[in-house]
């Protein structure tokens, strides 16, 4: 079965640029990255159904632009970039649809969390998600990528187009704000 095959990124990238093998190769890309991209998207949009839609859009966008991917950057970096852009666009669109201010992330994301049937966290987890939702968009992204995905700063820097120093400072501020938020909540 395909799922038991070893994932060789260099070989996959080569196959992606061959008309005969590109579709099968992209199938392997989906298989390899769907889970990690899903969780990143889910932490941004909170709701499972929304995360499913955004993940689908991410892969569709990557596939329709696959000819532009020349392997200059890592495939994972490219996919994360698309996923993050799609997530931000989706959240902003949904906020506009719900007639909320684009800055009003906290109440929007908390509402999403409370109405999501695919969330079974306890009160502590709800509080942590509320604290993360209270962060500005960029800090929230940095915190999620670092805290949950343990992504290295150099890869994060490529994805977000920000210097490593700025990302470290951003993470530091995010941690402090979350600790303060949680301290006030408890």
């Amino acid at each position: 079965m395909a799922s038991h095959e070893k994932y060789d990124e260099a070989a996959i990238v080569e196959q992606l640029h061959d008309q005969r093998t590109c579709k099968a190769a992209f199938g392997k890309v989906i298989e390899h990255y769907s889970s990690q991209l899903y969780w990143q998207i889910r932490r941004m949009v909170i709701d499972h159904d929304d995360a499913n839609d955004v993940l689908q859009n991410t892969f569709m966008k990557a596939w329709t632009n696959i000819d532009n991917f020349r392997g200059d950057a890592k495939l994972s970096t490219w996919l994360y970039k698309i996923a993050i852009n799609e997530s931000i666009t989706f959240v902003n669109k949904k906020k506009v649809m719900n007639q909320l201010s684009l800055d009003d992330d906290e109440s929007f994301l908390v509402n999403q969390l409370e109405s999501d049937v695919w969330f079974d966290g306890d009160q502590a987890q709800i509080n942590l998600q509320k604290a993360i939702a209270s962060l500005p968009e960029k800090q929230r992204l940095v915190f999620n990528l670092r805290y949950y995905d343990e992504m290295k700063y150099d890869q994060m820097s490529e994805i977000l187009g920000t210097s490593e120093g700025a990302l470290k400072a951003s993470y530091h501020h995010a941690v402090k704000k979350i600790e303060q938020f949680l301290g006030e909540t408890e």
């Binding site: 640029h17 769907s34 942590l128 805290y147 941690v175």
Partner: protein, 143 residues
């Protein structure tokens, strides 16, 4: 604080959150979600046109930048030579025309009144006449 201890602080700055809340955000997904998603996603991929990376460029594709550059230089050269030709000939023509007009005293007053000839033109003309006269005198003395 030493450099090593600073790194230690950076590494463990989230340890309070980590110890208390862990890394499980409390999200879950339907059973077999990822397997189903992978299959569904792969099936819905439309056909796309892929340009082979190692496709050898044709002779024209390789020569195109050189041809464009040569054409650009030729164009610039043509423009400069045309510009230089017209500017030289128009200067000569205008000097000759002014000289002819100034030579005729009947025309001179009319031209001054109508503003077609300025004081500067007359002075320039007189200077050039004086200089050419002086040159003629010195040539005759030498002879």
């Amino acid at each position: 604080m030493t450099f090593t201890s600073q790194i230690g602080v950076m590494k463990h700055e989230d340890s309070t959150i980590l110890n208390k809340y862990g890394k499980n955000p409390g999200f879950k997904v339907p059973e077999n979600y990822f397997a189903d998603f992978n299959q569904r996603m792969t099936e819905m991929l439309p056909d796309v046109e892929i340009t082979p990376v190692d496709a050898k460029p044709t002779m024209w594709q390789r020569l195109k930048p050189l041809v464009y550059m040569a054409a650009m230089f030729a164009g610039v050269w043509c423009m400069m030579s045309v510009f230089s030709h017209f500017s030289t000939s128009s200067n000569l023509q205008s000097v000759r025309a002014v000289a002819e007009q100034l030579h005729d005293d009947n025309n001179l007053d009319e031209l001054i009144m109508s503003g077609m000839v300025s004081d500067y033109d007359i002075l320039s003309y007189e200077d050039s006449v004086m200089m050419s006269n002086e040159e003629n005198i010195s040539d005759e003395i030498e002879k």
